[in-house]
Amino acid sequence: MSVNNKYEAVIGLEVHAQMLTKTKAYSNDINEYGANPNTNVSVISLGHPGTLPVMNKKTIEYAIRLGLACESNIAPYQYFARKNYFYPDLPKGYQITQDKTPICTGGHIFIKTDDGNEKEIGITRIHMEEDAGKSIHDVDVYDTLVDLNRAGTPLLEIVSEPDLKTSQEAYNYLTEVRKLLRYLDICDGNMEEGSMRCDANVSVMLKGSKVFGTKVEVKNMNSIRNVQRAIEFEISRQIEQIEKGEAIAQETRGFDALKGITISQRTKEAANDYRYFPEPDLQPITVSKEQIETVRETMPALPRDLFFKYINELGLSSYDAQVLTDTKSIALYFEEVIQTTKNYKGAANFVMGDVKSFLNNRSIEIEDFPIPAKHIGLLVNIIDEGKVSTSAASQKLFPLMVENPAVEPLTLAEQNNLIQESDENSLITYIQQVINENPVETERYKNGEKQLLGLFMGKLMKVSGGKADPKLANQLLRTTLDNL
């Protein structure tokens, strides 16, 4: 038994999600990523003397949306707070945030555990706040440059309960959070660009212990995978330390992705006293029941709901349901496909197979996929009806549909002579022709070489120009040969 089995880890995550509002949290400045430095800044973002924040109401709506998705309590009365600290990219010298009255408390997010079961991860709180600007250290040789475009960008901070046990669970949790944010159109969830960020609180304790170990905060992970790596490293490091009989320091550590290690940044003694107090420049917010209901009415379908719908109502496998709901746009596309076909498995196969590989080959998103979802549904239907063969559908009709997205698949099949022959009389004509043209093989078949059926089938398809319904043709061919 390895030493690692003596211990268990306790992990809580803090996720910061930049909201996709048109304007910033407390001003009319444009909220966008990638603009030229210091262009989306007015006197408010710059924190000039005499300026005041004005609440962007959209941020409340977004926060309620996430709260509803997580089944959190939504506070009817809230006020903002100032978190005071000095930093060059913090122009006011304080961040407007929520301290004692977060908009959402409680709730949960479901993740897959390492063994594939579902596990509930508690949400401690979700609150609204503003982002700081960005300090840029690597552009100018001598100076640190400050870009305040990001200053004032609205954020949601999502704090989980310390319910995560492994780095894989942390990975799965972040994947679920990101999926949820994307489904809700709150945040684009791009960790590389920093629109979604994550800090991890990690501690270890002896298995079964009731007392948590000393917590270490890990920062600077720019991908979900790196969060996983950082946690993995941190767990081993802490266990090693404890095994050596050394105490764990309560500190903040940064993750070095190149080396795969965490490095101490700040100890508890050096921590800031943020001197939170109620923000006097903003009125408290009240959220009415009606307001919550209005948001509820416009809530999109959530990935977990769709997942269970696909399994329970559509009879899909959990693998299929997972793949289809991983990405909101794919799920929405599939939802549209199944408006026109009742063959859900067939539709799922087509979307997960032909459609997805087309997207992969072209490196495009489903939003740019030319074929309307309705036509995929119709295609599944005409395959089921035996009008086109599965192989003709994939290999010939599908590319034609890409080229002619406005034309229905049946019309395209007709125009391009892809309707398969399901008429028994004409099939029998073809069979007769094949038998006549191959007397030697026919004789051998009659003498018991049943394996020659494949050869006859091949010739039959050739004679029919590939249009023979293979299933029916096969059946008729066998009957005809056996009765000779």
Partner: protein
């Protein structure tokens, strides 16, 4: 020399142009330079603006303030003009925008003549805390004009502008008005937008006006008042015509007994009691109420305002704009040295006090408790005002004192004993000059009214004027 807007208007009626009136004021400012009331005279932009207003008068399109020459306290932002809050830390800083309240006056064709000296970041009661020198009281140049809006009070008292804007966080308009024999109002919190007012204590600050008569005070207040989408603490309460009209019928007036039990100047007390007797004699109902919170007001005020100030003044860090210490190496030192060198002693004292009361382990004992008491104070004040039209008191316990006479911060803070009340509770309050003088120095009566009842406050003041002038 023009004493008020009425005199300006009669000059206009007799053919003088706004450009001429402006020149008269500019000359007067020049002749009173020793007062140090103006930190900067905006001669160029004011002359340009005066020309434009003259053109509008000729067109018949001029606004209600055409001809009015206004000075602004040096903590109100005016686009493309310097604003420093009388602090070295903002020396040579130019604002990129105009405060909403000021814009509303400009939209009515007022001409802005310059920025007026004040205590640094509006912290002070004598205008001795300015980084750019103290202001002299025009009525006795050995005395202070009061503070923090000392330059504004002095400028109006000396007729260097028709009206001046000030800001009032704990009495910074009413106390200097009292010291200079001018009218000064602190409107209801939220009545006038704070957008563009450099914040001292956000939940206390209000912009207000100084003038030489009630009518000008009311007119300018009315124009500045009203909701502003740039200030979410501004009220949507409707703004009516503020022109003062003598109220019909008898008034119900309350005064706080304890106000006269503290160290108030004997002459002021005597004049105040006489006024009360006269009002009673005329059939007005004057009620003495007990309000045992006076001792708490100044401490409460300093806990809460310094807390807010410590945060509001964080932005002056030497990084983005304003003064940056040339002696600093690196970020940490830039903060420390820029702020140490850029702020004056009183500002530093208040930042440190505020940082202390908000710090971990002290928050509940100070800030939290003061907030609770503030709510109690507001309730109790509303209870009095439910029974009375307004609360009357002296505006200040003293007349203007000599420069340097008060060196103890606590003693200086107690100068605000009558005025902080209205800032703690948000009620509107006005100082109107008493006709009498004590050794040539004026003093004022303060009326504190109900929320958003500025109009009534002006009407009551008009009645009061008959007794004291």
């Amino acid at each position: 020399m023009y004493k008020n807007f009425a005199e300006v208007k009669s000059a206009l009626a007799s053919g003088r142009r706004v450009v001429d009136i402006l020149e008269d004021y500019l000359k007067r400012i020049e002749s009173k330079k020793q007062l140090n009331a103006f930190l900067e005279v905006f001669s160029e932009s004011a002359r340009q603006r005066a020309k434009e207003v003259d053109a509008k008068i000729a067109d018949g399109t001029a606004g209600r303030l055409a001809g009015m020459i206004i000075g602004i306290k040096d903590n109100i932002c005016y686009k493309n003009h310097k604003v420093s809050a009388s602090s070295k830390i903002l020396e040579n800083f130019e604002s990129l925008y105009t405060a909403t309240a000021l814009q509303r006056l400009i939209d009515e064709d007022a001409v802005i003549i310059g920025r007026l000296n004040c205590d640094e970041f509006a912290m002070g009661s004598s205008n001795e805390n300015s980084a750019f020198g103290n202001v002299l009281n025009p009525l006795n140049e050995d005395c202070v004009p009061g503070g923090s809006s000392g330059g504004s009070a002095a400028a109006v008292a000396a007729n260097l502008c028709t009206v001046a804007l000030g800001s009032d966080t704990g009495g910074s308009i009413r106390q200097p008005a009292s010291f200079t024999g001018t009218y000064g109002i602190k409107p209801t919190y939220g009545r006038i937008s704070r957008y563009g007012l450099i914040a001292y204590a956000s939940s206390f600050d209000q912009i207000g006006a100084f003038a030489n008569d009630l009518e000008d005070t009311a007119l300018v207040t009315e124009i500045m008042a009203g909701a502003d989408e740039m200030d979410s603490t501004s009220s949507r309460e409707e703004v009516t015509d503020y022109t003062p009209v003598l109220p019909a019928g008898k008034l119900k007036i309350a005064y706080i007994k304890e106000c006269l039990e503290i160290g108030v100047n004997a002459h002021i007390k005597e004049a105040f009691l006489k006024l009360i007797e006269e009002l009673k004699a005329d059939g007005h109902e004057v009620t003495e109420v007990s309000f045992p919170y006076l001792d708490y007001m100044v401490p409460m005020y300093y806990v809460l305002t310094t807390a807010e100030a410590s945060s509001n003044l964080s932005r002056f860090d030497g990084v983005h704009y304003g003064y940056r210490s040339p002696n600093a190496q690196g970020t940490e030192e830039t903060y420390k040295k820029s702020r140490s060198e850029g702020f004056g002693a009183e500002v530093k004292r208040r930042i440190m006090t505020g940082t202390f009361v908000l710090s971990h382990g002290y928050y509940d004992a100070y800030y939290s408790k003061a907030q609770k008491v503030r709510r109690v104070l507001q309730e109790k004040t509303n209870e009095i005002l439910a029974q009375a039209d307004f609360i009357i008191s002296p505006a200040s316990p003293n007349v203007a004192f000599k420069r340097g006479a008060i060196s103890e911060p606590i003693e200086m803070y107690l100068q605000d004993i009558y005025t902080v009340h209205a800032n703690l509770t948000g009620h509107p309050a006005i100082a109107i000059p008493h006709g009498q003088k004590i050794d040539g120095l004026p003093f004022a009566v303060q009326l504190m009214g109900k929320f958003f009842k500025e109009k009534e406050l002006f009407d009551y003041s008009k009645l009061l004027e008959k007794y004291i002038q």
